[in-house]
């Protein structure tokens, strides 16, 4: 039987959610107008006042926020509460060079942890469970978020944090951990290591895993489920909006329910900014309705996905999003297939290589060529030519499984990937289209 952490909200009829969103949005717009001069100026540029926003239907009138705004307003420019009300920051490294620093009041942390608790309960968690949190703790939201959610559910929480694989496995086995929270690549690594140690899925006490914070494929999910003997659930979130738990998978394992009582999701055309109809692929945009300290309106995630309101058999009424395929501005279309560098990174790390690579795309005789230069590492080097070729084959197979198309891997010397202003050039697209 499906269980919920907050059934009255998670399974509320659509009208009730909409009414809640309308009420919260109006209050949030007013809050931001009064307390965040940066956003007020953006609204004024569009000749908007809070009175122009009467319901969720007017949301599209509001200006977007993007990573560039976060950078421009760094560090305190988007803060809506005096520091005496704030109790924590979390931070993530930004691709634009500046770190993202997000602020939380105690209320913000409570809401965030409740969202994570919903994800844990949706994965079957109860207060009888032993929940091992192997996400990194600290500035990264993964550890603190799931840790808080696990407490709210009442699980016995093991704050293992990341790393020290031997100790991770010892806790799982000795304390009979039943739920594992970490990145999918670390789950895969733990699974492989336990298999090498001769542990069978039957011997491993885990029954569910909540994995997020990086791109992973269905194939990877099946592999992890098989080696660990669990059901693996996806979880999504971003520091700017709160952290993990913005959306999560239910027993259906088919799309992640967005916590619509706290966040409004839109899908837009990344080029024009126009809102797209349900079911269309586009860039995901979030408005946080409850955030007190760091309330972002219409924040562009750069994640590409689709939304569906199709009825879900789990009973939850919140809209579902597909697994994001990566960041919109990084996406490449090669032989008609969407390829995201983040997916390549995941496969490289899973196979023991460093995330130092360069994608070279060209078009020869009307067909795209797809080459990836990968830096050799001391770990992957051996004196045996056949062994190096075999390892490269494993990597190419892994890439094909993740991306759906074949790439040719060329091994290169370390630190030879072209750099521009200290940042590696990841993509060279020579196609003239």
């Amino acid at each position: 039987m499906e269980r919920y952490f907050q059934e009255e909200l998670e399974c509320a009829p659509r009208e009730k959610i909409l009414a809640l969103q309308n009420e919260k949005l109006l209050a949030q717009v007013k809050n931001v107008w009064e307390n965040v001069p940066y956003y007020r100026a953006k609204m004024q540029e569009k000749n908007l006042t809070p009175d122009d926003i009467k319901s969720v239907d007017d949301l599209h009138k509001l200006p977007f926020l993007s990573k560039a705004d976060l950078k421009a307003a760094y560090p305190y420019g988007l803060l809506a509460r005096p520091l005496k009300d704030c109790v924590r920051i979390q931070s993530t490294s930004g691709t634009t060079g500046k770190r993202v620093v997000a602020f939380y009041t105690q209320h913000d942390i409570d809401v965030w942890e409740e969202c994570c608790a919903r994800a844990i309960v949706a994965a079957g968690g109860t207060n009888e469970d032993v929940c091992q949190v192997s996400y990194g703790y600290g500035l990264f939201t993964g550890g603190p978020g799931l840790n808080g959610g696990s407490h709210k559910v009442g699980c016995l929480t093991i704050p293992a944090s990341s790393g020290n694989t031997e100790r991770q496995i010892m806790f799982i086995m000795d304390l009979s951990a039943t739920i594992l929270c970490c990145t999918p690549s670390y789950a895969a690594y733990l699974g492989e290591t336990m298999k090498e140690m001769g542990l069978t899925p039957e011997q491993i006490p885990l029954k569910a895993g909540i994995f997020g914070a990086e791109a992973w494929s269905e194939e990877m999910r099946r592999d992890i489920e098989k080696t660990l003997g669990i059901k693996a659930y996806d979880i999504y979130g971003l520091t700017e909006i709160s952290g993990p738990g913005v959306s999560f998978e239910c027993s259906e394992q088919h799309g992640m329910h967005i916590n619509e009582d706290h966040f409004i999701a839109e899908i837009i055309d990344p080029d024009t900014g126009e809102v797209l109809p349900e079911g269309t692929q586009g860039e995901l945009v979030f408005t946080s309705l409850d955030k007190e300290a760091f309330p972002l309106l219409r924040y562009r995630t750069r994640d590409i996905c689709t939304l569906t309101r199709e009825k879900c058999s789990c009973g939850r009424t919140h809209v579902r999003m597909t697994k994001p395929r990566g960041r919109s501005d990084d996406m490449l279309i090669i032989r008609g297939v969407n390829v995201f560098p983040s997916q390549i990174e995941t496969v490289l790390l899973n196979n023991g290589y460093a995330a130092n690579y360069q994608i070279i795309v060209d078009r020869v005789n009307n067909t795209d060529t797809f080459d990836i230069n990968v830096e050799m590492t001391p770990d992957m080097f051996t004196d045996n030519v056949g062994e190096i070729q075999a390892r490269r084959k494993v990597l190419e197979d892994g890439l094909r499984a993740m991306l759906g198309i074949k790439a040719k891997v060329t091994l290169v010397n370390p630190k030879t990937i072209t750099r521009s202003e200290g940042k590696a050039v990841r993509v060279i697209d020579k196609r003239k289209i």
Binding site: M376, T377, P378, F381, D383, V385, T410, L411, N413, T416
Partner: protein, 141 residues
């Protein structure tokens, strides 16, 4: 005693091998023997050098990936059948040779062997009166 051979990864780009020899020359490393295993798109250089630690540290500075590999080195005198005698000893020991290469010393020629089980091969050949050279002896020949 087995000797540490330096194995270096080489990407397939013009001038890479020369960049490596330059780095070694600059570091004052003398290459006694060198062999190149080549594929279409990468290679492995295998070398016997006078100073393995200096060699690996200058290579690392120049962004090469290098590792040590234990190899066995035997003197092959300029007589009929001397190489055959060594190879026969390997065959009788049932140890596989992964690869071999040679270099000329002041008096003798020397064969370098990479085998599947270095310790076993060394012990068995030692039993047949064939002594492999040590790192110090290599410097003298």
């Amino acid at each position: 005693m087995s000797v540490n051979q330096v194995s270096v990864f080489l990407e397939n780009k013009p001038g890479t091998l020369n960049k490596m020899t330059q780095a070694l020359a600059k570091g004052g490393v003398n290459i006694r023997a060198l062999s190149l295993a080549d594929t279409n798109d990468f290679g492995i250089v295998r070398m016997i050098v006078n100073d393995v630690y200096e060699a690996t540290s200058v290579l690392k500075e120049e962004n090469f990936v290098a590792t040590f590999t234990p190899v066995l080195i035997y003197a092959v005198s300029d007589e009929t059948g001397s190489l055959d005698k060594i190879l026969r000893a390997f065959t009788e020991s049932e140890v596989n040779i992964e690869y071999m290469y040679a270099f000329a010393g002041k008096k003798n020629a020397y064969m370098i062997f990479r085998v599947t089980d270095t310790k076993k091969a060394e012990a068995l050949l030692n039993g047949k009166g064939l002594k492999s050279l040590t790192q110090e002896e290599i410097a003298e020949v």
